[in-house]
C-alpha cells in the first residue's frame, strides 16, 4: 500500500506501547479515525488509528512569522515556503503477531488495505454479525468503504445489551440510526425461524416520525439503495408493523398522524384507551415527575388501588375524581390521618389536569372490530415474534406520555416474567426491543429518585438483558442521563454535539481530537463505541428506508 511517512521517536516524545508519531507530507489528506500500518520487527505489522494531526514549521515564534511577511505586509509573496510537515499521533490498536513493543524510529508508515483495516479495528471474523453502518477511509484515489458489523450478542444480549444514542444532529438523525439498527435486526430475525426471536416496541414522541415505517421512502436514491445492498440489508421497509394511537373521538386531536383511518382499515392501526378497572394500578406513573419526598402521592395511589376509604367499588375515572375531590374538603381526612388534606388537594389538582386534558382515559372499550380499540397492555401482552409496535404519544402532554411509556415498560416486564397471563412460552418473542427518544424526560439526573418510570428503566437496563428486554434510547445530551441507565448500555453512539457537552466528565476518556470532531460530525455520521471494536469508530449509515415526513 501507499507509503505516507515514517515513524519519529524523539527524546522527549518516544513511541510507546500505546501510541506513536509519524511525519507525513503537509499536503497529504488524512483524518482522525483513519487506520495506518507500520512495519514492525519480525515482519509484523502494527496498526494504529489516527488521533491527532499537527502541522509544524521551523518557525520559532509567531513573531518570526510576522517578520517573514516583511514585517507585517499581508500581500507579501515569498519565493520559498517555510519548510513544514505534518506529524500525526496515532493510537496503537494491535499488531499482527501480538508484538506490543513500541514501533521503531524510521519505520515505514502506510495506508492500510481493506483487510488490514478490518483486522486493525477488530471487524474481522465477527460472530453473529449485524450491520451497523459503514466506514469510509482515506481520500480518493485510495479511499475504501467497509461495512461494519456489531456482534449482535453485544447489542441485544446475551453478552451485552442496550444502546444509547446521543447528539443534537437534528432532523431525526438519532431516530434514523436507531431505526437503521432495528431494521437490520428485523431483517436478520425475520429469516430465522428457529431459536431466538425478537419483537419491537417503539414510542413515537415527535410528530409523524415513526408513523409510516412500513411505507417505502420515495426519496431513497439508488446510491442509498446500493449501500443497503452492500450492508446485506433488504430495501423493503419494516414489516409486521402495528400502530397504536391515543384514543380520541375525532382521532385528530390526539395524534399528528393523518393516515390513521386508512391504516385502521388495513387493520394495522389501533386506538388505545385506559380503563379504570384494569389500569388503576398504573396511576402512580402519572406522578413520576412530581417531587414526592414524603411519598404521600405514592401512598394515595396505594390507598386508591387497594380500595380503601370510599374507593371501593369505583368503576370509572369520573367517580374516582369525585371521590378524590371528597377527600380534599376540610375535615375529610378524618378516617385516615396519615394523608393530609393538603396532599389530597395536590393529588386532585394534578390528577384532574391529566384526566380532563386527555381522552385516553375512558369508561369502556368498543368491541366493534372496525373501531379497532384496545388497551395497550393487552396488546403488548399479545405481541408476537417480529411484530413492530409503534405507540404514538407525540401529541399527549408530558405526564401522560410518561404514563404511557411507564405502562408499556411494565407490560413488557410482566409479559417477560410470565406473570398475569398465560401464553405459551415458546410464542413469546425471546427479545423485545424498546425504543424511546428523549430519554432525558424519564431518566435524567433531575428526575426524582422515587419516580416509578426511572425505577422501571433502571430495572430494564440492569436486569433486562437476562430477561430479553433491550432498551434503545436516545437523547440530546448524554451527560443529563442517570449514570446507572447509561452505564449499563453496552453500545454507545455519539452524534454531533456541542462544546459544552463534551467538556462534561462523560467524555473524559475521548481523545481531544475526537472530542472536537464530535462537534463537527455530519448528519448520518456517528462515533460508535462497542465492546467488540478496538477503538471508537466513525460510522456512516444510509438514509432511512421508510417514509419521511419533512414537516414533522
Amino acid at each position: 500500500m501507499k507509503q505516507i511517512g515514517k515513524i519519529i521517536a524523539t527524546e522527549k516524545v518516544p513511541t510507546t506501547v500505546d501510541e506513536f508519531f509519524f511525519w507525513t507530507d503537509k499536503e497529504l489528506i488524512i483524518k482522525p479515525f483513519d487506520v495506518v500500518k507500520v512495519n514492525h520487527i519480525k515482519s509484523s505489522i502494527t496498526f494504529g488509528v489516527v488521533e491527532e494531526i499537527s502541522h509544524l514549521t521551523d518557525n520559532s515564534s509567531f513573531l518570526a512569522g510576522y517578520i517573514s511577511s516583511d514585517f507585517g505586509d499581508v500581500n507579501y509573496q515569498q519565493y520559498t515556503q517555510r519548510i513544514g510537515m505534518n506529524y500525526v499521533r496515532a493510537k496503537v490498536v494491535g499488531n499482527s503477531q501480538g508484538i506490543y513493543t513500541p514501533v521503531l524510529d524510521g519505520s515505514f508508515v502506510s495506508l492500510a488495505s481493506e483487510d488490514d483495516i478490518r483486522e486493525a479495528l477488530g471487524l474481522k471474523d465477527i460472530k453473529n454479525p449485524l450491520p451497523c453502518g459503514y466506514i469510509e477511509m482515506y481520500e480518493q484515489p485510495d479511499s475504501v468503504t467497509i461495512p461494519v458489523h456489531f456482534n449482535s450478542h453485544f447489542l441485544i444480549g446475551p453478552e451485552g445489551a442496550h444502546l444509547n444514542i446521543s447528539g443534537i444532529s437534528g432532523l431525526a438523525s438519532k431516530t434514523s440510526y436507531a431505526m437503521f439498527l432495528l431494521k437490520a435486526i428485523q431483517d436478520q430475525y425475520i429469516e430465522k425461524s428457529k431459536g431466538e426471536s425478537v419483537a419491537f416496541v417503539l414510542l413515537n414522541v415527535k410528530g409523524r416520525d415513526l408513523l409510516a415505517i412500513d411505507e417505502i421512502n420515495d426519496e431513497l436514491t439508488s446510491d442509498d439503495k446500493s449501500i443497503y445492498k452492500m450492508l446485506d440489508l433488504s430495501t423493503v421497509p419494516f414489516q409486521n408493523v402495528k400502530y397504536f394511537y391515543p384514543y380520541s373521538k375525532d382521532i385528530v386531536s390526539s395524534t399528528y398522524g393523518r393516515d390513521v383511518k386508512s391504516q385502521m382499515e388495513l387493520n394495522k392501526a389501533y386506538l388505545y384507551k385506559y380503563i379504570f378497572e384494569d389500569d388503576k394500578e398504573s396511576i402512580d406513573l402519572l406522578f413520576s415527575n412530581v417531587d414526592d419526598p414524603n411519598q404521600t402521592m405514592e401512598s394515595i395511589v396505594n390507598y386508591i388501588a387497594t380500595g380503601q376509604g370510599g374507593f371501593n367499588g369505583i368503576t370509572n375515572w369520573n367517580e374516582l375524581l369525585n371521590e378524590v375531590y371528597e377527600h380534599t374538603k376540610a375535615g375529610a381526612s378524618g378516617k385516615d390521618k396519615e394523608i393530609t388534606v393538603l396532599s389530597w388537594r395536590k393529588f386532585y389538582r394534578l390528577f384532574r389536569k391529566t384526566i380532563e386534558k386527555t381522552t385516553i382515559f375512558s369508561n369502556s372499550i368498543s368491541s366493534k372490530p372496525k373501531d379497532n380499540e384496545t388497551r395497550l397492555k393487552e396488546a403488548i401482552l399479545n405481541i408476537k415474534k417480529n411484530d413492530v409496535f409503534v405507540i404514538d404519544v407525540a401529541k399527549l402532554d408530558e405526564e401522560t406520555q410518561g404514563f404511557v411509556f411507564g405502562d408499556v415498560m411494565r407490560s413488557i416486564y410482566e409479559l417477560k416474567l410470565g406473570q398475569a397471563y398465560d401464553r405459551n412460552e415458546a410464542d413469546i418473542p425471546s427479545k423485545i426491543v424498546i425504543f424511546i427518544d428523549e430519554l432525558n424526560k424519564y431518566a435524567s439526573k433531575e428526575v426524582p429518585k422515587s419516580s416509578p418510570i426511572l425505577r422501571q428503566l433502571l430495572d430494564i437496563t440492569e436486569r433486562g438483558r437476562s430477561l430479553g428486554i433491550i432498551l434503545f434510547s436516545a437523547e440530546q445530551f448524554k451527560s443529563d442521563i442517570h449514570d446507572r441507565v447509561k452505564g449499563n448500555c453496552a453500545t454507545h453512539a455519539y452524534g454531533r454535539t456541542n462544546a459544552i457537552e463534551i467538556s462534561k466528565p462523560d467524555y473524559q476518556y475521548v481523545p481531544p481530537v475526537y472530542k472536537s470532531m464530535l462537534t463537527r460530525l455530519k448528519q448520518g455520521e456517528y462515533v460508535v463505541q462497542n465492546p467488540v471494536f478496538r477503538s471508537l469508530l466513525n460510522i456512516k449509515f444510509p438514509r432511512p428506508i421508510y417514509k419521511q415526513f419533512k414537516n414533522g
Partner: protein, 394 residues
Amino acid sequence: MKNIRKILEDATNGICYDSYRYCADEELKVPTINYEETQSFTLLKDRYGETDTSLKQTKDLTKKAKQLSNSEPLFKYFLDGSRRTYKVDDIEINKRIFPIMAGQIGVACCERKNPNNFKCKELESNLVLSLPVEANPETRNTELFFNNLKEKINNTPRVQKIGLKFSNILSYSSKANVDSKELKYEHLGIAAIQDEMVDSEKKIVANLTAKNLLNEDSYLLKDGSLQYKPMKTGEYKELSKIKNNYRCVIGVSKLFNPEFSKDRSGKSNAALLAKLPLYHRTPAYMFQHEREKWSYLGDYKYSVWYVRIRDAKHTESPFAGIVKIEKILITENENENGLESDLIDVITANIINERNPVCYGKDSRWANHLYPVYLTELFLKSKYLSDIHFLNLF
C-alpha cells in the same frame, strides 16, 4: 580487537597518548564582526566591477525587486558546505607530538522546484582523518600509504559494525608551522579538512554543470565566499575548467569584514556600508587574487558588491541585514569591463526577494540569512553523526 588508534600507532611507528577527545569547532554564539579575517584577494583600484560606470553612490532596487517578485526566482539551487572537526588524540612521531584530527564533512546542494518543494539534489557526506605527512614512515608513496591506512581503518570491526566508512586520510605538511609561529598543528589539520570540504563543493558544482542544470534561468547560490584558495596543483587547464563551472554561480556571504570593503580608490567603505539604505546596493568593485603570491593563477577576477536586505532599524548592528555578493568574472569582456550592470541588478533584486521567510529566533544571524541557505545548512547538520557517537569511534 584493534581499534583505530592502535592501527595508527602500528602504521606510523608512533605512540598514541590517549588524550582528551573533543570537538575542535568553536560554536558561533553571537554574530560578531571578524576583523581578523584574512583575505588573499586585492581590490583592483580604478577598475569598475560593472559596466555602468556612472554609479557612484548606491542604487535603489526596490522597484526592480517588486517587479521580479511575480516571476520565477532566478535561484534554483542552493549550496552549502560545512565541516565539524575533532581532536581525537595526540600521537608521538619521531619525538614530535602531533594531534590526530578527524572531521565530518558535509556539502549539500538543495533544489527548489517551487515554493513548496525543497529537496536535496546532491549530498557529499564524508568522514576524514587528518595527519601530518610525517605519519608516513617512508618518504615515498605518501598517497599509497594513506590509502592503505584508510583501508585498514575501514576494516576494523568497530567501524564496519555501524556501517561507516572513512573516505580519505588527509595529510598536512608540518613545515608550514615553522613559517608562522601563530599556526598550530591543530589548525593545519583543520585546514586540510577545510580544503577537502572546498574540493567537495567544487565537485558538486562541476556535477551540476555537467548535468546542464545551471543556466541563465537557474542559478546556484552558494553560501559563503567564492574566494577559493588556489588549488595546490594549480594546473591552469583545471583552473579554467573550474572557472567555467561558475558561470551561473554566485556567492553570498552573511559575515564579512567591513574593513575589506573598499571603494574604487581603495579607501575604506565601511561607513558608507553602515548607512546603506534598505534594498540599495553598492556599486560593484573588481577584486583579484594577490598577484605576487598566486601569480600562476592568471586572471581570476571577481565582482563584489553589497546589498541591504533588512532595514537597519530592525537589526542589532548596522552591518546585520547586509549581504556580500560575489561573482567570478568569466568572459574576457567581463574581465575587462566588469559585469553587466543589468545582470547585477537582477541578481541583487532576486537576493532581496529571497529575504523571507526568516529564521528569526532560530539563528542569531537571521538578518543576514537567506532561508533556502538556512534550510540547506539545517539539512547538512541533520546528516552529521552526533559528536559523542563520532568521538567514540576512536
